[in-house]
Symmetry: C2
DNA sequence: AAAAATAGTGCAACACTGTTGCATATTTAA
DNA sequence: TTAAATATGCAACAGTGTTGCACTATTTTT
C-alpha cells in the first residue's frame, strides 16, 4: 500500500496523490505531467497535478529527469531519498524511436577527470539510442 | 569575418545572422533564445531569432545544450559539424550559482558498460556544480 | 465533539518557450 | 535588372509551468 509512503514523508493521503503515485509504481518509464494527465482515472486540475509532482519531488518520492525535449519527466526514487537529500545519480536512457525514458538505477556514472577550479555536485547522464523493443531485427 | 561561415553552410548573409553569430563567437557560455534577445543591438522579431537559431543548428554552426531548466541553450560547434552530422559529444557544465553553462569541448565522455539490447547513438553529460568564479574562498 | 489550525484543491490568470501560416521584403543568380 | 529563392515580421496558437486566492478537507487542539 502506498499510504505508508505518504506517512513516511509527511504528506496527507489524498485521492490524487494515491492515483499519481500508482501511475509511477506501475510504470517502468519516466512520466511527464501530460503523461500523468492521461493516465489518471478521475479528472483533476492541471495545477493540482503539477503541485502533486512537485511535492513528491521535494519529499524525495520522485526525481526529475530531463531529456532533450525540455519537458520534465519524473521517476520514482529508488534509494531512500528524502526532503533533505536525493541520491539519484544514475544513468538515464532515452529511446529515439519510442521516446521512452528509463532509469538505469544501478548503472554508476563513471568518474570524470578533476576539473581545476570547478567543484562537482551532481552529474547527469542521458544516453540516447534505441531500446530493445524498438530494435530492427 | 563570419561571412565565410555562412557561405560555407549555404546560408544567406543577413543582419540578424551576423549579429547572432557574433553573440556566440564573443561568448564563452551557452546562450538561450532570451539571452540572445537581450544581446542583440537591433530589434528583431522573436520568431526570426528562433528561426535563426534553428537554421544554425541544422547547418552545424551551433549545437543544442539542455540543462536542468528545460530551456534550450546553444553553443558553437567546434569540430566541423555540418548539416549531415554533428560531433558534439562533449561534457557540459552548469554552475549552480550563476547558472552559466559551458562546453568542455575537449573532455571526452567516458565509456559506459555495454547494455544488452540497447544501441547507443549519443551520450549527453551535464555536470552541475560551482564554477571557478563562483567559488567561495 | 466542536473549533481552530493546517494543508490540499480548483479556478482564473499569467509568463514564457516554441511553432506555424502567410504576406512582405531582401538576397542572389541569371 | 529582373525572377527565383530565401528570409523576415506579424498574428495566432499550443504547450509547459507558476502564482494568488477562495474554498474544502483533514488534523490537532480545546
Ligand atoms: Zn531522489
Ligand atoms: Zn532516474
Ligand atoms: Zn555540432
Ligand atoms: Zn557544447
Amino acid at each position: 500500500m502506498t499510504d505508508n509512503i505518504f506517512k513516511k514523508h509527511n504528506l496527507r493521503i489524498t485521492d490524487i496523490r494515491k492515483e499519481v503515485l500508482d501511475c509511477f509504481v506501475q510504470s517502468d518509464i519516466a512520466l511527464s505531467h501530460s503523461d500523468i494527465e492521461l493516465l489518471l482515472f478521475k479528472e483533476y486540475d492541471r495545477v493540482t497535478i503539477y503541485r502533486t509532482l512537485n511535492s513528491f519531488l521535494e519529499k524525495g518520492i520522485l526525481h526529475k529527469v530531463f531529456d532533450d525535449s525540455g519537458v520534465a519527466k519524473f521517476a520514482l526514487c529508488k534509494y531512500d531519498c528524502n526532503e533533505h537529500q536525493h541520491n539519484d545519480n544514475h544513468v538515464h536512457f532515452k529511446c529515439e524511436v519510442c521516446s521512452k525514458v528509463i532509469c538505469f538505477h544501478d548503472m554508476q556514472i563513471p568518474h570524470l577527470p578533476v576539473l581545476k577550479g570547478f567543484s562537482i555536485h551532481h552529474i547527469n547522464l542521458l544516453v540516447q539510442g534505441v531500446c530493445p523493443e524498438c530494435q530492427v531485427q
